[in-house]
Amino acid sequence: MTSDKARELFSEHLEGTLSAGLKQAFERRLTEDPALAEEYRLFSRVYEALGSMPPVEAPADLTERVQRRLDRAVWEEKSKSRPAIGWLRSLAFGAAAVAIVITGYVGYIRSTGTNGIQAGVTGNGGTLVAMPEIQLEDGKLSVRYLPTKDGELLIFEGGASDDSLPPPDATPIGRQTTEAGQAVRIPLEVKTDRATTLWVQPSDTERVVALFLGGGERIPLSGRYEGTLTGALAKIAAAHGKMIEATIRGQKSVEVDLETGLSVEECLARALDGTGYQFAVEGDLVRVR
């Protein structure tokens, strides 16, 4: 047996899978060749050490990084079936419930550090968050957003209550390219009295921010409601003439008694019970997170 042939058999000899004849020939070769025997000895030590490698600890932000990438993959898949539509198109909706006008981003990166980005907004106060947030200041609505990755912000309006968010039949009314670390502020001008819902979705997450607008005319609650969580929130907004902002990931089903006479807080407490979401009332705006 040559040295090269013997080397080819190192693993099999260690694992005990050589036939009796080959095993005998292999061992005889090692006896005759001390250098090869030494090679084999080190080989077996390395083999053994390979099996006792300590586990590697995953970084603390691994889950977040995986979820972000996954959210993006899911979003990309879903967006394949949605038509692309520019901002100008929104002006073409004669009967559109909402008109949205971009006045440009207002913001800047205040500092960057090794642990991430912090941002501040000039002239508007408040700290931006990674998900879009609806702001209501002096009676004016706007979307504020600090993307952590390059992407897009899509805004839809309306649509029937559905398991998919935003609903597949929601009307795209706006699209804004966003850059990582560049704060965005998009004023929303509401030109309708009827109840409707706005959906704001960044491309790098599956979560969506919904703004349920109550509209001018109150629509009374009709008792038992069985349906989607967003459907329930839309009903509560319409019944109380409130604006409800909700950051949602994945639709949920609810069964809830929503009777006329209940306060908005009571309705929300019932609707959100067991869903994992909570609400906070901030004047005319209610936030659900």
Partner: protein, 197 residues
């Protein structure tokens, strides 16, 4: 393992129907192991996290192609390996780190520069040195050898499973693994004292 396999399959079925929770369950179940595998392949924490994220994005995009007769983990390892190979192709820059930090050769002399905890027992420090040297040596292997070594010795996959994951006959897996170990032994030759019994 059989029960886990069935569970994985059921989660895949649900995920295919758009159940995000099922997809998240699969991710939760395998992300640490995936990261570990990715880290052994690339030797860099940040890159390993990116590879892990990319692998799960590919899992999502290719769920419909998952064949239930193979284990989900085997399929996942294949995806991670492909993601790693794709990245290597893109970068064109081989990971240079590792062995150079552990083994710095100057004028033929080999010196060890591995930080060790003086409070640790001698044996433990030696094991750490061994592990670091092996880790670094693995990074010097050609990519396919690297994947095989990690799948067999760290992930404990059988030759058959590795063949399935890397799409090659079992005989090829065996012979290449032996060559990979021979290459490792050669790379580690300068620090042979670490492996003296």
């Amino acid at each position: 393992m059989t029960e886990r396999h069935v569970d994985d399959g059921a989660l895949v079925e649900k995920a295919l129907k758009g159940d995000r929770d099922a997809l998240d369950d699969l991710v939760y179940r395998y992300q640490a192991r995936t990261y570990q595998f990715a880290y052994r392949l690339c030797g860099d924490e940040d890159q390993a996290a990116d590879l892990t994220a990319e692998a799960f994005a590919r899992v999502y995009a290719n769920l419909a192609r998952f064949r239930r007769e193979s284990r989900f983990s085997t399929w996942l390892f294949r995806i991670v390996t492909n993601a790693f190979l794709d990245q290597q192709k893109k970068d064109k820059v081989r990971q240079k780190q590792s062995l150079d930090e552990v083994l710095s050769t100057e004028e033929g002399e080999l010196s060890l520069q591995v930080a060790s905890d003086s409070a640790s027992p001698h044996e433990s420090a030696e094991q750490t040195l061994q592990a670091e040297a092996i880790n670094a040596a693995i990074q010097r292997l050609p990519e396919h050898y690297r994947a095989m070594i990690v799948l067999f010795h760290v992930e404990m996959l059988s030759y058959e499973e590795i063949g399935e994951a890397l799409d090659m006959p079992v005989g090829t897996v065996k012979s290449r693994l032996n060559r990979a170990r021979l290459a490792l032994r050669e790379i580690l030759e300068p620090v042979v004292e670490l492996f003296q019994a």
